[in-house]
């Protein structure tokens, strides 16, 4: 081809029919320090991610919310199979999740939940499928991995505290623990070199965080009673009580 034509075709405003925009293999997590540690620069699409929780209520969902709303913005839906608690709609909506594209599935038995989870992973319209599965059967989990690859879905397998993490074929396994107000993410397994150090992520300002400014723009009074907890008569502590105006 003539050099001038090649130069012309290299112009960014020219789009050629033969080149289809390919889907990126990962979705950015929204946390730069985490993206840097994840192979592909984000949560993997078309693969299982195992998140091992050492505690609950440490910001584990907040860690995933930016990626979820990014996937929803692409027009794909989210499926949560057998969540351990009630997902709280006002908080999710405030964090930017489109509730009409978030499906909560509960099966009557573990087998039903696993079936539903596999279907969700396999479905191309489903961008992310979260499953809280008690099963560790390797054969089954390998099937889930295949399903995620077929559906190009970001599958997250949550391990609740006390649940044994399995040595399965999930290409990415992270463990989450609280660390002095931040979330410590330890990479247990990833494609690539091992990472010895934990990544500390400050989730206090992330969507879904408990500390919001008041509607008037004035921050809520932050009270830290850790230095001198007042001891109550019956329960060991007496918590400061203020009548709501």
């Amino acid at each position: 081809m003539d050099a001038s034509v090649a130069r012309l075709l290299a112009h960014p405003a020219i789009w050629r029919g033969s080149e289809c925009a390919s889907e990126p293999a990962s979705v950015a997590s929204g946390f730069a320090e985490l993206d840097a540690a994840l192979p592909g620069g984000g949560w993997p699409r078309g693969a299982l991610t195992e998140l091992v929780l050492e505690r609950e209520g440490i910001g584990e969902l907040r860690l995933t919310l930016p990626a979820l709303s990014r996937l929803q913005a692409e027009g794909r839906s989210i499926v949560w199979v057998a969540p351990p608690y009630r997902p709280y709609a006002p908080a999710l909506a405030a964090a930017g999740i489109d509730l009409s594209r978030l499906f909560v599935v509960r099966g009557r038995t573990i087998a039903e939940a696993l079936w539903a989870y596999e279907q969700a992973l396999r479905a191309p319209e489903c961008g992310a499928a979260f499953g809280w599965m008690p099963s560790h059967e390797d054969r089954l989990l390998r099937r889930l991995q295949v399903a995620a690859r077929e559906g190009r879905t970001w599958g997250v397998l949550w391990r609740r505290p006390g649940q044994r993490a399995s040595a399965i074929s999930a290409p990415l396994r992270l463990s989450l623990a609280p660390d002095r107000g931040t979330l410590a993410v330890r990479v247990l397994k990833r494609r690539g070199a091992d990472l010895a150090q934990s990544i500390l992520i400050d989730l206090a300002r992330a969507p879904g965080a408990p500390l919001y400014p008041l509607p008037g723009g004035q921050p809520l009074v932050r009270r830290n009673t850790s230095t001198s907890p007042p001891h109550g008569r019956r329960h060991g502590i007496r918590l400061p009580h203020r009548k709501a105006s």
Partner: protein, 493 residues
């Protein structure tokens, strides 16, 4: 204007014959009129070979072919068949109407371009009708009456121009033009037997002798007089019964019949521009069982979003039917539309990756069909201060009426709210004594619900427990005491 006429020459026969297998159809079969001396109204090919002719007495037919199968003419079924054909035609044009006892006319000029040319449109229309098991003859002409007459006259090449109508219609025998018998006899006596003969006569004289009817027939056929046709509108509710040839006792054997009904249903949905949201399939058991009080097995289906693709509907029905146990053999099935919704138009994408959106519904439906309607939920925000009532889970597709946006003035917009809510608030009595808890925020007083007996009076705090988990706890002040019980209500996950 271009009108297509679909003429059903053997409609009385077809309403029965379409349920027969090819082997059964090879036997002599006639449709008879009712009354004391029933006559043959229509006879199939095998019966005609045996010498049975229309108008014969049934006794004569039985003498000619002792094994002939007899059925009394079912006018209601014929009407239903015409309505079905008109519904099918509505997939090709917005203007179709039922003409006379055995024909449907449809205005197709506007749709020719959309379907890629007249031959293709014509072939697709014919294919759709034939797929439903009817013999059909067609004609195309610029006027509905002309199309009708040409179809009655036999197979003819399409007439696309008004000026060509006269020549095309001229050889048609007047006897096929729906003119009453006395007038026909009078004209025949004068040697007037074809359309052309009648057209050449002076109008005024013809009107005086033969009446106005023949004049208006001639003028309408030539497109010279207005010929308003009442457009066919499908009924607002779909309900169709399909009798099965023989009782069926396994669900698997029902699939073919169900698919046939689904095709009818999809045609009806298309004609009305709707998508199905809920439908029900009644499996009617044999009559002797009904007498013993065994009610039809009714299976209801709900879709996540309005849909009308036959393959999609069939797949959902199949998945759901797989879980149905039949208490007794089934002899008929009835498909009913319970709820429909307008199907929104959708923009097709320029690039191929936009296609993912088109299949967004089936996953939810697959899950619901297998796990039950209540297994899949979408969340919605309720305008309610009590946290346990501010979130609700509803069936997908039904949530359109409820707002999923936070309304101003409702708690949850400014104050901290957890992402996980405990299904039940857990008392914290012993946990609190173990180690120091850190209060991060609060109190937030929530006091509401005195009117429905579930009144709450709580002070909520964001707290960090000794394990480093951020939780949402409250102190219950319902009984007025200043040192009420502590409860755990959520996790800031």
């Amino acid at each position: 204007m271009l009108w297509a006429c679909l003429l059903f020459p053997s409609l009385p026969l077809d309403v029965f014959a379409r349920a027969l297998t090819p082997a059964e159809a090879a036997h002599p079969f006639v449709v008879t009129s009712g009354g004391h001396y029933p006559c043959v109204v229509a006879a199939n090919a095998a019966a005609r070979v045996a010498g049975i002719r229309n108008g014969q007495l049934v006794s004569a037919a039985l003498a000619l072919a002792p094994d002939v199968a007899l059925r009394e003419r079912d006018l209601a079924a014929e009407e239903a068949a015409l309505a079905e054909a008109a519904t099918l035609a509505l997939a090709f044009t917005p203007n179709a109407s039922i003409a006379g006892p055995d024909a449907v006319v449809a205005e197709v000029a506007g749709s020719v371009h959309l379907f890629g040319g007249l031959p293709r449109l014509h072939a697709e229309l014919l294919g759709a009708v034939r797929a439903h098991g009817y013999a059909v003859r067609t004609a195309l002409a610029p006027a509905p009456m002309a199309a009708l007459l040409l179809a009655r006259g036999g197979q003819s090449p399409p007439v696309l121009d008004v000026d060509a109508l006269e020549a095309a219609l001229a050889p048609l025998p007047l006897a096929r033009c729906g003119i009453d018998v006395d007038t026909l006899a009078m004209l025949a006596a004068s040697g007037i037997t074809t359309f052309g003969d009648a057209h050449r006569l002076p109008r005024a004289g013809l009107a005086r002798r033969a009446g106005q009817q023949i004049i208006s027939t001639l003028d309408r056929a030539l497109g010279r007089a207005p010929d308003p046709r009442e457009p066919y509108r499908p009924p607002p509710r779909f309900e169709r019964r399909l009798p099965l040839p023989s009782p069926v006792d396994t669900v698997e054997s029902l699939h073919f019949a169900v698919h046939r009904l689904v095709q009818d249903f999809a045609g009806w949905l298309l004609a009305r521009g709707l998508g199905a949201v809920r439908m029900s399939l009644a499996l009617v058991h044999e009559r002797y069982l009904r007498a013993r009080g065994i009610a039809p097995t009714v299976v209801t289906f709900a879709l996540g979003a309005p849909a009308r693709a036959p393959a999609h509907l069939s797949a959902v029905l199949r998945e759901r039917l797989g879980r149905v146990a039949l208490p007794a053999p089934v002899e008929a099935i009835v498909l009913t539309s319970d709820e429909t919704a307008p199907l929104r138009g959708r923009n097709l994408g320029l690039l191929p990756e936009d296609a993912a959106e088109t299949v967004a519904v089936p996953l939810v439906e697959r899950l619901r069909a297998r796990l039950g309607d209540d297994a899949v939920a979408v969340l919605a925000v309720q305008p309610e201060h009590r946290p346990e009532l501010a979130t609700c889970e509803s069936v997908p597709g039904m949530s359109s009426k409820k707002s999923t946006r936070i309304r101003p003035g409702v708690a949850g917009t400014g104050a901290p709210r957890p992402l996980w809510l405990a299904p039940e608030a857990q008392p914290l009595a012993t946990d609190l004594e173990a180690a120091p808890w850190i209060l991060r925020e609060g109190p937030e007083r929530i006091e509401s619900g005195w009117w429905d007996g579930r009144d709450v009076r709580r002070d909520y705090f964001v707290a960090e427990n000794p394990r480093g988990e951020t939780v949402w706890i409250y102190r219950d002040h319902r009984y007025g005491a200043d040192d009420g019980e502590w409860f755990l209500h959520g996790y800031f996950a």
